[in-house]
């Protein structure tokens, strides 16, 4: 086991492999209209506003951000549930931005989604067997007489009792329902699974079960995950790389450990410092960056760097005038900020030396 985590190479690197998913300048605007018969477009909600992102086969990319930052919209754009306003989406090197009809349906075989609310995402009037077998019937990948056996195998795989094939969703607990959602997503053996807040609605002990299940399945089927959550600690736990979104843009991206130790964007710093740590001593040593106010409206995002009105280290006029681009910092870390944070801005030196005493640690890089 390597202790030098800050320098750990990012699992798949940009040079050699084609990404499974490649986003270039993806934008999604929702129109705001006025009038009943003649709908006049009076503005746009800039839900996703220029995102570049590569997801490599077999890795887990985490996406975090506060409510309304556009993370779920981005997921739906990737799934082609929304048409992007601008930009290009590639899947396995193929442009899928304008795919339609049969070609799109074929594509969906390779990408599936797990939703947040296990109560709302399962049809209450259909049995579990029929819910999980729906993908087979739509895509006809399994002959009719094999469907039941296949479904029961899936149920066993996700930790459900195959005998419960004929039960209805209301007979299951939240965690079990989420397992049903996982089984359904897995049915067509997709390459990419987009998990949109898959554990937020669950109790902690059940959360852990589902997270472990997702990890096991990834190993077994070599799945690629895009994992969306607002809980940074969950995202860091499952992800190889974490992207932080703010108002429709990715502001920082790095391996989870790098992000925790050396966040460079003040927003990442604020987000990290706000996450409660279940360790009173460590929590007391943590430095805090407290953000004032709320996320501005995505209808009319701030000029320059979108974070500047709330940023504790903003300098004027540059931050209000020039939009920062994503620049590389450490290996695997990119940041869009004119004045990145110094190293170790959140975790205290004291906390570090204490931890270093417990487990010898590599000297800070850079």
């Amino acid at each position: 086991m390597s202790t030098q985590l800050t320098e750990r190479p990012v699992t798949p690197t940009e040079q050699d492999r084609t990404p499974l998913v490649r986003l270039r300048g993806v934008k999604k605007y929702f129109p705001i209209t006025r009038g009943i018969i003649f709908q006049k477009r009076i503005g746009n909600v800039h839900a996703v506003d220029g995102v570049d992102l590569d997801i490599y086969p077999g890795e887990t990319v985490g996406l975090v951000g506060e409510t309304g930052c556009g993370k779920s919209t981005l997921a739906r754009v990737i799934m082609r549930l929304y048409d992007p306003t601008e930009g290009a989406i590639e899947f396995e090197g193929r442009d899928i931005t304008r795919l339609k009809g049969r070609a799109l349906r074929e594509l969906r075989r390779n990408m599936q989604m797990i939703f947040q609310d296990p109560f709302a995402s399962l049809n209450p009037r259909r049995t579990v067997g029929s819910i999980i077998s729906e993908p087979f019937r739509l895509h006809k990948t399994v002959p009719k007489d094999r469907i039941k056996a296949e479904v029961q195998q899936l149920m066993e795989l996700v930790g459900l009792n195959p005998e419960h094939y004929n039960r209805y969703p209301h007979e299951f607990s939240g965690g079990q329902r989420q397992r049903i959602g996982v089984a359904r997503a897995l049915a067509l053996r997709p390459k990419l699974i987009v998990c949109d807040e898959p554990v937020s609605a669950l109790d902690v002990s059940i959360q852990a079960q589902i997270l472990n299940l997702l990890e096991d399945l990834q190993e077994e089927f070599n799945l690629t995950y895009l994992f969306i959550a607002h809980d940074l600690s969950v995202v860091k736990h499952v992800s190889d790389r974490v992207a932080v979104m703010y108002l429709g843009k990715i502001v920082e991206m790095a391996p989870g450990d790098t992000l925790y130790r050396n966040p460079k964007h003040p927003y990442t710093g604020a987000l990290l410092s706000a996450v409660p740590i279940p360790d009173p001593r460590l929590a007391a040593q943590k430095k805090r960056i407290i953000l004032e106010g709320d996320v501005p409206s995505p209808i009319d995002p701030p000029s320059g760097c979108r974070f500047h009105p709330r940023c504790p280290s903003a300098q004027f006029p540059i931050c209000a005038e020039q939009e920062p681009t994503l620049e590389p910092m450490r290996p695997g870390q990119v940041v869009a900020c004119h004045f990145p944070l110094p190293d170790r801005a959140i975790i205290d030196e004291g906390a570090n030396s204490e931890r270093a005493a417990a487990a010898p640690e590599a000297p800070p890089a850079g």
Partner: protein, 337 residues
């Protein structure tokens, strides 16, 4: 030692239903001292909310069988007539809830709602009450409180609404504030703001605070004492130090092993508790946790463990000998690292 502000003795809240008796709270006893912060941790259905709704007098005897005593400032609240309870609720004990959207009335201005709460307990004019409401909004950190007080709840963001709820709850300077999952619906950055606010106001108003949550992280930084609940019972009680560094109950170990931690180095595997929380109608005999407990032995299946103090205040309801607990927890910590 000073008098406790609130003392709950052997409280039981059972709901008769068509399927059987739901033992939501099954004999809990605890104390809260003036000015202290108590964290109540447990998963859904552990009885944490129901116990404090009962303290607030919000569970009616028509729907539940309530036994035990709830002594608040020397009075048994369970014996008070509803009229008198109404004077205490809101004025001396107040509560904020998880979902700030559904706790505010959408048709009334925020300032008027706070003023109404004040006027329910104090004989003052509408104007004075409204001014007080504005002042409270200022104290909970809402910018431009004069303008904000004249707005409707839908014009507030989630964090703002929770601030408004806190303003309302503290407007009568209560001695006890019960916060039931106050930050669960909020983003982390807002959650940090609200928890800091509750901390600051507790000092300013010198109120005791109860924070009910399912998130062990939330209470680590903000509570003096923590009680862990499972299936209607308190399974462990201690200081934050006790609970995080030397927990004595396998359920607490399970909770600590289940949470993802930011400060953890690499992708360690989580150690979840197996199985599901029990039905509160058919609570397992003996220790309710035994079917999920990896360390259960014969005695656990028959005898209900009592909540016994180990050293001073730290208490756990578990049959395992203390040495075993210390050893097992040390192993658990090592396994995670």
């Amino acid at each position: 030692m000073a008098e406790p502000l609130l003392e709950v003795r052997n409280l039981k809240v059972h709901f008769p239903t068509d399927d059987g008796l739901v033992r939501a709270v099954d004999g809990i006893s605890f104390q809260i001292m003036p000015g202290e912060t108590l964290g109540v941790v447990g998963e859904s259905g552990s009885g944490k909310s129901v116990s404090f709704l009962t303290v607030m007098g919000l569970i009616s005897r028509r729907e539940a069988i309530i036994e035990g005593e709830v002594i608040f400032q020397g009075q048994d609240l369970l014996k008070l007539p509803p009229e008198e309870m109404r004077h205490i609720r809101g004025a001396r004990i107040s509560m904020i809830f998880q979902d700030p959207m559904t706790s505010l009335h959408p048709f009334y201005r925020v300032g008027d709602q706070i003023a109404e709460a004040i006027r329910a307990h104090q004989k003052i004019s509408k104007k004075e009450a409204f001014d007080q409401a504005v002042d409270m909004l200022r104290r909970v950190g809402i910018p431009k409180p004069e303008e904000r007080a004249r707005q409707y709840p839908h014009e507030f963001s989630g964090g703002m609404r929770q601030r408004a709820m806190i303003a309302m709850a503290l407007s009568l300077n209560p001695d006890l504030l019960i916060a039931d999952e106050p930050t669960t619906a909020l983003d982390v950055t807002v959650q940090a703001q609200i928890l800091d606010l509750i901390d600051r106001l507790r000092e300013e108003f010198n109120a005791a605070v109860v924070i009910i949550t399912h998130d062990l992280g939330v209470v680590a930084e903000h509570c003096d004492h923590i009680q862990v609940m499972y299936a209607g019972k308190i399974v462990e009680y201690g200081t934050a130090e006790d609970i995080y560094y030397a927990p004595h109950h396998p359920y607490t170990w399970g909770l600590l092993g289940s949470i993802t931690r930011l400060d953890e180095e690499s992708k360690g595997r989580l150690r979840p508790i197996k199985g599901l929380p029990p039905s509160l109608i058919f609570v397992p005999p003996g220790c309710a946790f035994h079917p999920r407990c990896p360390y259960a032995f014969d005695r656990c299946r028959v005898e209900v463990p009592e909540l016994l103090p180990v050293d001073g205040h730290h208490a756990a309801a578990c049959h395992l000998p203390l040495e075993d607990k210390r050893r097992i927890f040390a192993e658990e910590v090592a396994a995670r690292a």
